[in-house]
Symmetry: C2
Subunit: 201 residues, 2 copies
């Protein structure tokens, strides 16, 4: 039996750090966008899309997908973002088959929604704390941070909406939603860890 | 120093029961709609609205407000729901002045938003669990339960929106949001209690 903790999060909420801490405290693997994209690229999952259109691909696969070089099954053209999503989806399902883990972002809550042992978390915060964190962690100035946060909120909501047909950050897609600005980063990780049945890791 | 735990909740989520449990476990008072309305009625707070329009009122005050018998300050006619809300607001602020407490519903999260020691909780659940709870606790049949739940969601969202200018159930108005269908009633109460600094009760 495994436990899958998916963490959706707002930019500047510290969700990624909380995810890492939870994984560390529970002693289970942690995956985020970079790791999933890398795994997708290395796995060759996406190759089938390309092979279907009889195109030969060398080098960075997702990069090439992003550059518009591939087609979908049956030679129908699939939007490239769909292809990348389908690849990530496969990677996430494969990773979950390996056992308990923490996955940050990538619509993992929706992708694993039928899995037993799933805990769907969403981390958010007020704008003041988000800006302060973006300034501290990403070296932005306050104005840039505010712009990037607003841009990120729109992009994440759009991405989540397209691929899950649900609203990003809507309570019905999560089991636990935490305001990290209220509780702090480490306490949020502790709250999540306490909710996990350690015998099922 | 006091702690105020406000609990917004969906019909059938068990939010009221969770609020009662939290109050019991922490040994602090619990207030909900019935108690607040009764306190408002007994306090005579609303009398000033009536006196302003030189109307004489006897008997159940909020009942009469609801029946369209009163006017606002300076003889301007205020919508009756506004008058009732203002009365509840005063009662909630008075109750909070007495010390730590749990308040369920009545836009208390917004009314006390500038208070130190405020923990704003929202309890929700999936439709299946909500229907099951409404059938069990309110003796409804499944069809009626579903209809009442939908009606209640609309009414609570409308009421909260009018008086707070915010969206009911929107994460930015809460610190902690819990899916009671996932965790269960008693565990939700325990999660909340663990987040309270007992030295500040």
């Amino acid at each position: 039996m495994s436990t899958f903790i998916t963490i959706g999060r707002e930019l500047g909420s510290g969700g990624r750090t909380i995810g890492k801490l939870v994984a560390e405290k529970l002693g289970i693997p942690y995956y985020d966008r970079e790791l999933i994209d890398k795994a997708a690229e290395e796995s060759g999952f996406a190759a089938e899309f390309i092979e279907a259109s009889e195109q030969k691909v060398t080098g960075g696969l997702l990069y090439k997908l992003g550059m518009g070089m591939s087609y979908g099954y049956d030679n129908r053209v699939l939007p490239l973002s769909n292809q990348i999503y389908l690849t990530q989806r496969k990677v996430i399902k494969e990773l979950a088959e390996k056992g308990s883990c923490v996955i940050v972002g990538r619509c993992a809550d929706d992708i694993l929604k039928d899995s037993e042992g799933l805990l769907r978390v969403f981390i958010y915060s007020d704008m003041e704390h988000r800006i302060a964190r973006a300034v501290k962690c990403y070296g932005m100035n306050e104005l840039t941070a505010k712009k990037e946060i607003r841009k990120s909120d729109k992009e994440r909501a759009r991405h989540y909406g397209i691929f899950t047909d649900q609203h990003w950050g809507d309570r019905k897609n999560y089991d636990l939603m935490l305001n990290s600005g209220k509780f702090g980063i480490e306490p949020c990780a502790d709250i999540i860890c306490k909710l996990v049945d350690k015998s099922k890791l």
